[in-house]
């Protein structure tokens, strides 16, 4: 092992975030038509993980109020649909919890309609449902949302195309390298097989990691059913440089 470029030379000892390319969809995914004009055609250029990459925005409690995790409150009445609790942990790929990180959620209402001028699906808007929530993971990485199960909705990607019911999740983690936007799906959805966004993830086991599991233990009797969804971000390897990582057993 060479010691010509040691971290001590500049006094910087930085974490290194492990890649997991196999889990993620390709930017060019022919079944998903909107990707055709929106993916780079040149190869991506490798960006070293220097200070800008191993740090990241620590957006905190000033962005989240006490009821932001509950999408069913804040209006004059109750939203229509099936009330659900979605909870889980934010972890990294080393199995460590990611604490105190901002989680953003947005979704369609129970009729499959977004509160957005661009949504032309002629399903009703719900005056008591906006479809946006925020939460912070706690010091163990745990988070919890209360919301309404979203409906499926049609889109024009292919003949008789419908999106499976899903929640959008946005996470920052603790480093620029960990930023993740994903979607949570519901177990047993009959629309998985024809959805090019879900199926853009090539590895069937990776697709399973986007499907929540029904969670009877967290269900509140006579009030809400519950789903568990753990989210795994890239982990920081214990050693900062790849040539040192290879020395680990």
């Amino acid at each position: 092992m060479t010691t010509e470029t040691t971290p001590q030379r500049s006094g910087l000892l930085l974490p290194h975030y492990r890649r997991d390319d196999a889990s993620h969809p390709p930017l060019d995914s022919s079944g998903y038509r909107s990707s055709a004009l929106r993916h780079p055609k040149r190869p991506l250029h490798l960006l070293p993980q220097y200070l800008t990459e191993v740090t990241g925005p620590l957006l905190g409690n000033d962005r989240v109020s006490e009821t932001d995790h509950d999408l069913t409150v804040g209006h004059d009445g109750e939203p229509l649909g099936e009330r659900i609790i979605v909870s889980g942990r934010v972890l990294d790929s080393d199995g460590k919890p990611v604490p105190n990180t901002l989680i953003e959620l947005w979704q369609a209402n129970s009729a499959g309609r977004y509160r957005h001028a661009g949504d032309r699906h002629p399903a009703p808007l719900d005056p008591n449902f906006t479809g946006v929530g925020r939460a912070m993971s706690d010091d163990q990485g745990e988070y919890r949302f209360v919301t309404i199960k979203p409906g499926a909705y049609p889109w024009r990607n292919h003949d008789n195309a419908w999106r499976p019911a899903h929640l959008h999740f946005s996470l920052f983690g603790q480093a620029f390298t960990q930023r993740l936007i994903t979607q949570m799906y519901f177990p047993g959805d009959p629309l998985f097989h024809q959805d090019p966004i879900f199926n853009s993830v090539r590895d069937p086991q990776a697709r399973e990691r986007m499907i929540s599991r029904f969670d009877l233990d967290s269900t509140v009797p006579e009030w809400a059913l519950s789903y568990k969804f753990d989210i795994v971000l890239r982990g920081a390897a214990a050693t900062p440089f790849e040539d040192e990582e290879e020395d680990d057993d």
């Binding site: 000892l13 993620h24 929106r38 780079p40 991506l44 200070l51 800008t52 740090t55």
Partner: protein, 189 residues
């Protein structure tokens, strides 16, 4: 060790509807620093697709150090900056435009003793994009630092210009081209 590691949750598109009321966008999102901050500049740009058409439903996020090259973050081993959040978020308008008000960051040391020129890290999200794109903004008045930058100097000379913003009276312009002859250099992390 690698066997015990968890596999990550896959990325999915941000979709077209992130701009729900009080949703993924924040009203102060493009304002990394307050109006009137000494040294404040505006970073403006347009996102173009493979037809050269503007992308009206993208989200651009920036992340960068403060003017001294410091991050308000525990992974910066040199000590935290005072109160600089360093994060901005802007949805594109119907013409594909975005903007940020911020300050030019300072240069940064690398672990192997080199120096990075002032830069902004950029995340591009949009409908049709199954994973985020990452690029960087470098500054046009930093020619020497840019030449010595370990990232920029590793990019083919004929494409390096896509990462350097153009000077404007109150800041810089940085257009993002997802495809085409002048396709922006995007990075894998």
């Amino acid at each position: 060790m690698a066997e015990s590691a968890e596999l990550t949750t896959p990325s999915q598109t941000v979709g077209p509807f992130y701009a729900l009321p009080d949703g993924l966008l924040w009203t102060d999102g493009p304002e990394v620093v307050a109006a009137g901050t000494p040294g404040a500049l505006t970073v403006r740009g347009t996102v173009f697709d493979g037809n050269g058409d503007p992308v009206p439903d993208a989200v651009i996020e920036i992340w960068h150090a403060d003017e001294r090259g410091r991050f308000s973050h525990p992974a910066d081993p040199r000590g935290e900056s005072a109160a600089f959040e360093g994060f901005g978020r802007c949805g594109t308008d119907p013409e594909g435009g975005f903007w940020f008000r911020t300050v030019k960051p300072g240069p940064l040391p690398t672990p192997d003793g080199r120096t990075e020129a002032p830069h902004l890290n950029v995340t591009v999200l949009a409908r049709g994009m199954l994973n985020r794109l990452v690029t960087r903004v470098y500054f046009p008045d930093e020619a020497d630092a840019n030449d010595a930058d370990p990232v920029l100097s590793s990019v083919d000379l004929d494409r390096r210009g896509t990462l350097v913003a153009r000077a404007e009276p109150d800041g810089v312009r940085f257009d993002i081209r997802l495809q085409g002859d002048a396709e922006t250099v995007f990075f894998e992390l």
